[in-house]
């Protein structure tokens, strides 16, 4: 009877709680604790097990086992043809950190994410400020500005790849006429700029939705008080609206980083495929390149592990941000 077993462990855990804090935390995993349980609830353990089973099975097969494999692959060397694996300890990581390619990719990813994050936020902030201050046509403006949310990163990539295509693209032609030697297929900086523009165009709508909501949530009484004190609209925006929206802005910075790091794969793959000369080869794209194109599974797994660490960090920040946001809006 698993149920009665668990209750025994539960009692044991409760009895030894003061002496062994570790035991207590282990005990709280096993014990059917009251945290997040409705006061009025059911006691049908087998039914409950049946209801969580699908979720846990899917997670087991497509989350826990793959994650475990990535972790274990990071410490071995696999030859691409056979199945032989040799344990190499931290070798994959040391080669990674000493390779200039990886360092370039990391720096490039940082540059791309920071630029993308700040530009998106600034543009969205300006648009949200404008939306907050117009009376007529608000719904239409909103509808149009939200549109890119429906468009996949890959399609955004295709659109911008066409606009700036050096032979047929209309915007590239304009640049050429102005005297710029625009060619994202050869010039690394052009490629990076193009990918950034596509990424920003696709993501401004996301920040915009949240900022419009945050600006709207500023209590009118506070604004009126500031107006009576003689603050003009721009000053009111800078000294009242912005500070009150600060938690949302913090949340959006985190989300923009997550987007720039992990969700721009489609854009990069359709616009530049990581080129030219690795100038748009971001960390996530590199995992794909090394794993599926070069078949260097050990190195690719080590890169995955580093990305996992970054992802966990950002999830943590995201939860902090959400908490602060909720506290602030009371």
């Amino acid at each position: 009877m698993p149920a009665s077993n668990a209750i025994m462990i539960n009692r044991e855990g409760a009895a030894t709680r003061p002496r062994f804090p570790l035991r207590r935390s282990l005990g709280s995993l096993v014990r059917s604790s009251e945290v997040g349980l409705k006061a009025s609830h059911f006691r049908r353990p087998w039914l409950a097990a049946g209801l969580v089973a699908p979720q846990l099975l899917i997670l087991l097969f497509f989350f826990f086992i793959p994650t475990w494999k990535a972790l274990s692959l990071a410490f071995v060397q696999v030859d691409p043809f056979g199945g032989t694996m040799i344990f190499v300890g931290l070798d994959n990581f040391t080669t990674l950190f000493s390779s200039p390619e990886y360092r370039d990719s990391a720096i490039l990813t940082l540059w791309f994410t920071v630029v993308q994050c700040l530009a998106t936020l600034a543009i969205a902030g300006l648009l949200a400020f404008a939306t907050d201050n117009v009376m007529r046509g608000r719904a239409i403006y909103k509808g149009v500005i939200l549109l890119p949310y429906a468009i996949a990163p890959a399609i955004s990539g295709v659109l911008w790849a066409f606009l700036f295509n050096p032979t047929v693209g209309p915007l590239a032609q304009m640049l050429h006429e102005l005297g710029f030697a625009w060619d994202p297929n050869r010039r690394p900086f052009d490629a990076l700029l193009l990918v950034s523009v596509a990424a920003i165009w696709k993501h401004v709508c996301y920040d915009y939705i949240f900022l419009v909501a945050a600006f709207l949530a500023v209590p009118p009484s506070v604004m009126e008080a500031a107006a009576i004190d003689g603050a003009r609209p721009v000053r009111r925006f800078l000294t009242v609206t912005l500070p009150m929206a600060a938690p949302t802005i913090f949340f959006l910075i985190v989300m923009n980083f997550v987007y720039g790091l992990f969700e721009t794969f489609g854009i990069i793959d359709t616009v530049t495929r990581g080129g030219p000369a690795g100038s748009t080869n971001t960390l996530v794209y590199k995992v794909y390149q090394d794993g599926f194109r070069q078949l260097d599974l050990g190195s690719s797994a080590a890169q995955s592990v580093i990305l996992m660490a970054i992802a966990v960090l950002f999830t943590f920040l995201q939860f902090r941000a959400v908490e602060r946001k909720v506290n602030y809006q009371v």
Binding site: I7, A130, G137, A152, A154, Y288, G291
Partner: protein
């Protein structure tokens, strides 16, 4: 309300008009390109007025890319992701909030941890998991000696029966994308706000847990379900990386991959008109969803980030 400035108002309209133009500009040029012939699309300067071949190019792109098949694939995969994720996470959220059972917190934490890692960071191992879904079971049965036991007694090769390759299957496209607990977490948060009296009343009336779930909780969650379905629809339709990896046969690809295959590569004839015409019908379903259901979509987006 506070005072208004004509100057500010004009400035704001200008800003918004520029913003709206910046959003529409790539779409407009895509439309122009999609309405030209291959020859016209390469001329310098690029024409600013649409040509007359849009329908023709669309039909050509649709047939050339086998979109009749790919569109169905995309629909099946998207609907699979939406319904699968909603179903799995509704009942899991129900179980962790409304039942007292052993290992409840363990289950909750296992689900919660999966929020930490986006799918993009475990590309290769997930690929393996899909290519060989029976692998973990085989390893388990080998370890406990069941494989040898059954082979000895009955001659039935258990390890041969457990070769499930989900590459080029709908399962392979859907299941890994359902394996995240964001929706479960969302429904848990919502269920916690449902008044306790409802459950008490249902119990007094003699309703069991499933009846309570079906007749009380589901109708209450309708708004959340609608909002979340929209977000999941966009998420499923716009998937790119997974279909790219998991489908090697053209017949199992999604519309997004079909579009990617139409982009002219360096040496080929620059048939951008075909690719641009195709991009319109590939982005049409999610765009329609956003335009027609803007209110639900905004709610879903704000909810799912909490």
């Amino acid at each position: 309300m506070v005072e208004r400035h004509i100057g500010l108002s004009i400035f704001c309209h200008v800003v918004l008009l520029i913003g709206a133009a910046a959003v529409c500009m790539p779409l407009y040029f895509a439309f122009v390109a999609g309405s030209l012939t291959v020859g016209e699309v390469q001329q310098v300067p690029f024409p600013l007025v649409p040509g007359s071949h849009f329908v023709e190019n669309t039909v050509l792109a649709w047939n050339e890319g086998q979109f009749s098949r790919l569109y169905v694939n995309s629909l099946v995969v998207t609907v699979g992701i939406v319904t699968g994720k909603l179903a799995v996470s509704l009942i899991a959220g129900f179980a962790v909030t409304y039942f007292r059972f052993p290992f409840r917190m363990t289950a909750f934490w296992l689900i919660f941890i999966s929020l930490m890692l986006p799918v993009e960071v475990r590309i290769i191992p997930t690929y393996e998991a899909v290519a060989d879904a029976g692998g973990p079971l085989r390893a388990l049965f080998d370890a406990i000696g069941l494989t040898g036991f059954i082979a000895d007694r009955t001659g039935y090769r258990l390890d041969a029966a457990l070769q499930w390759n989900m590459i080029n299957s709908y399962g392979g496209l859907i299941l890994p994308l359902i394996a995240s607990a964001s929706a479960t977490f969302l429904f848990r948060q919502f269920f916690l706000t449902v008044p306790d009296e409802l459950c008490e009343a249902a119990k007094l009336d003699g309703a069991g847990p499933l009846k309570f779930f079906w007749d009380v909780l589901l109708p209450l969650s309708r708004a959340n379900i609608a909002a979340l379905s929209i977000i999941l629809f966009l998420y499923g339709w716009n998937q790119y990386l997974w279909p790219l990896l998991f489908t090697t046969e053209k017949a199992m690809a999604t519309a997004m991959i079909g579009l990617k295959d139409l982009i002219p590569v360096a040496d080929a004839q620059p048939a951008w008109n075909i690719a641009m015409a195709a991009s319109f019908f590939v982005m049409a379903p999610p765009a329609l969803v956003i335009l027609l259901m803007q209110r639900w979509f905004t709610k879903g987006l704000v909810d799912s980030s909490k």
